[in-house]
Amino acid sequence: MAATSAPLAKTVLRPSANAVGIALLLVLAYGIVPLVGTSYLYEAILTPFLALSLAALGLNLLTGYAGQLSLGSSAFMALGAYAAFNLSLRLPFLPLPVTIVLAGLVAATAGLAAGLPALRLRGFYLAVSTLAVQFFVGWVLNRFAWISNDSPSGVISAPPLVIAGLSFEDARGRYLFSLTVVALLTFLAWRLVTSPTGRSFVAVRDNETAARVIGVKVARTKLLAFALSSFVVGVAGVLWAFAYLRTVEPAGFNLDRSFQILFIVIIGGLGTLRGAFLGAGLIVVLPLLLSRFGAAVLGDGFDSGTLEMCQRIALGTLIVAFLIREPAGLAALLDRAVRCLRRAD
């Protein structure tokens, strides 16, 4: 929920207004939600929302800011999750935060390798090469049983969430744990995109040759974007596996998940940090609301298959309507709403 300002939209929101908004969100997320939330809210809505938001944030660094299309996000989530599993299993003395950072670094290293084709390829060709990463990682996780600790079915279950003797095992704890990780990484991402490096990302995205001619190290910038993005996505994978599902199977990180994350970024708004959160909110929460609404209107007895189909149609229509109304995503829609409110003052 810790939506933050897009650095490129300073013209729209005054920094002070932004700061107030973020502070309010943090108070809500840390102060009020833990007091009033139910286990359903934490486990079925907020924790997956946070994990997917973080994954989308990571992809947005790469696709939204640096302009490199990737269809392999869930592969990096998988790498983060499996790396964290193996680290905590084989090096149990490592504190959890260190494990998570190392898992992120594993994903980042893979991201660096996956970014090499970006030095030569662009657009759809690059997307296809990241698709190869997606399938390759799936194959590796499937092929080498050691990665899942020789579990006969290839499925792993996550170790408990304990930091320095403090347990985050209950639903609220998992939520707070995810929230803290996401807030921290969102802050770092915000620092990144407002830094010179962040501006080089945008320069490479907007015009690669122009960036090169003014001395931006294009190759280095692209690789850096891949590495940083994969780090964030990898940590999101850890949250998904450790805090949310508490189990991982390679099939859970398939191409569908990569597309889901890409849609979140597109619907939320490319090149904004807020967009990742807004998009994830739409993709995670709206179907649940629709399904609750459908069940309330039509009753429990209604054929659940038909209900599901209706929800899918409604969700699809809503998304199309959103994008026609505002192709730049929900972030832009929000900005417009804020502007209107301000004018009304």
Binding site: S153, V155, E308
Partner: protein
């Protein structure tokens, strides 16, 4: 919009009225939350299985007025076989009062629930599938892979092939090709086939079919070169009919192909048409509607128009009968627990005790109207699978018919491997296995029921 509002309001009113009604009656109820999947790629299995389960619960309510007067209720949440949706449904429905057990019929969802149900102390039933090592109830107190796990399935298939050859010693020198789906599920039994091959002296060739398996030309050419005596199909979805069709094209006889539990339904053979004629598959529950319990379901439930299957022709199909058997096992576990704890709404933990004392011998199975539908079950604290027997059925182009006796897998050989695996899990999670002998002694003490 006004119509919608009115509908919403009337729904709310009806809901509150219903609440008031049940509140006033205050009848004992046992609840089954269902993570069903009626849309998506696995809808055929989902509608059959959950349809059968609901049909049986319905039968118990209408015919017997519940289990010893305790009504059985259920609620459904659609998962589309997706893990996240399964978790969402779990979190949504878990606060319903009087939950007896969860029955997801999805390996992925079951895995994601293990931690949760252990903490919430409610049984998780994964009939015919699930984690092999959860058979070890000392490490997985709340997980029940009833009747069959992937290892005993493997052993059951080998025993069946031996019976066709005329005894286990006749397997020596034979060649068995295993065509497996390229996924963790498909690979799970590789070491077991190797182990049994060594033990009985047959040669095993395990051939992978990459997901989804709609192109198997090269695999079947390999099989033609190997000239195996049998091909075991460890398939999934579209891979099954394609395997049967390709086998026909390469001239391998269908009656020498034996399918596993995920390759044994009508949906696996009908798309293959003629090519499936003669194909044999393992099952824990025979198909067909001639068993007394199925007759009662047809008469009492479908006769009253409350049957769950949209298409009555599917009564007695593989997945529908699996749902019926699953219903029997759940209901009988509740009954067993009631005998100890009292004829009232039980807690999940009490129902777990019921599952751990679920003992249905052939006579009891017959009394339940399921003679020939399934064999027997004997669940204990340490053995959560319950020594389910398997049988084999052959497809004649229109229906399945049983072609073997009830076969007992070689549990003694498999148990040490299962225990090694559960010990790894216990170590990963810092668990101390239960002491079953001590618990059994404690539960023999005077009952805590009313």
């Amino acid at each position: 919009m006004p119509t919608l509002k009115i509908r919403l309001r009337s729904a709310l009113v009806a809901g509150t009225a219903l609440l008031a009604l049940t509140g006033a009656a205050n009848a004992d109820e046992q609840h089954f939350p269902l993570q069903s999947y009626r849309v998506g790629p696995y809808a055929a299995g989902g509608t059959g299985f959950f349809g059968g389960f609901i049909d049986y619960l319905n039968l118990i309510n209408t015919r017997d007025g519940g289990v010893n007067g305790v009504k059985l209720t259920w609620s459904e949440g659609e998962t589309q076989y997706e893990v996240e949706r399964g978790v969402e449904v779990y979190e949504r429905l878990k606060s319903r009062p009087g939950i007896a057990a969860w029955n997801p019929l999805s390996v992925g969802i079951a895995y994601a629930m293990i931690d949760r149900i252990t903490k919430d102390k409610v049984p998780l039933i994964t009939i015919n599938h699930g984690r092999t090592d959860s058979t070890d109830g000392r490490v997985f107190p709340y997980v029940f892979p009833l009747l069959l796990n992937p290892y005993s399935e493997t052993s059951g298939i080998v025993e069946y092939l031996a019976s066709r050859e005329g005894g286990l010693e006749k397997l020596k020198g034979k060649t068995i090709a295993v065509l497996f789906h390229g996924s963790p599920y498909g690979k799970e039994t590789i070491p077991i086939y190797e182990l049994l091959a060594k033990k009985y002296g047959f040669k095993v060739e395990q051939i992978e079919v990459p997901h989804p398996g709609n192109e198997q030309q090269s695999q079947w050419l390999t099989i033609r070169r190997l000239k195996p005596d049998y091909v075991v199909l460890r398939g999934w979805g579209v891979m099954n009919p394609v395997a049967l069709k390709t086998a026909q094209k390469t001239g391998f006889p269908a009656n020498r192909i034996v399918g596993n539990v995920w390759s044994n339904s009508e949906e696996d053979v009908i798309p293959a048409g003629e090519a499936a004629k003669g194909y044999v598959a393992i099952t824990t529950q025979a198909s067909g509607a001639e068993y007394p319990v199925l007759q009662e379901v047809t008469k009492t439930v479908y006769g009253a128009g409350t049957g769950n299957l949209a298409d009555r022709k599917r009564i007695g199909s593989v997945y529908h009968n699996l749902g019926i058997v699953n219903g029997i096992l759940n209901v009988e576990a509740v009954r067993a627990a009631q005998e100890k704890f009292g004829k009232r709404t039980l807690t999940g933990d009490e129902v777990r005790w019921g599952f751990e004392h679920l003992r249905l011998d052939e006579a009891r199975v017959a009394a339940l109207g399921a003679k020939g539908l399934f064999h027997s079950i004997n669940v204990t604290c340490a053995n959560h699978e319950g020594e389910g027997r398997v049988t084999f059925q052959q497809w004649d182009g229109a229906k399945w018919s049983v072609v073997s006796d009830w076969i007992a897998p070689d549990w003694a050989t498999l148990r040490p491997i299962i225990e090694a695996s559960s010990a790894t899990y216990a170590k990963e999670h810092g668990l101390t296995p239960r002491d079953c002998a001590k618990e059994e002694a404690a539960s023999q003490a005077p009952a805590v029921g009313q």
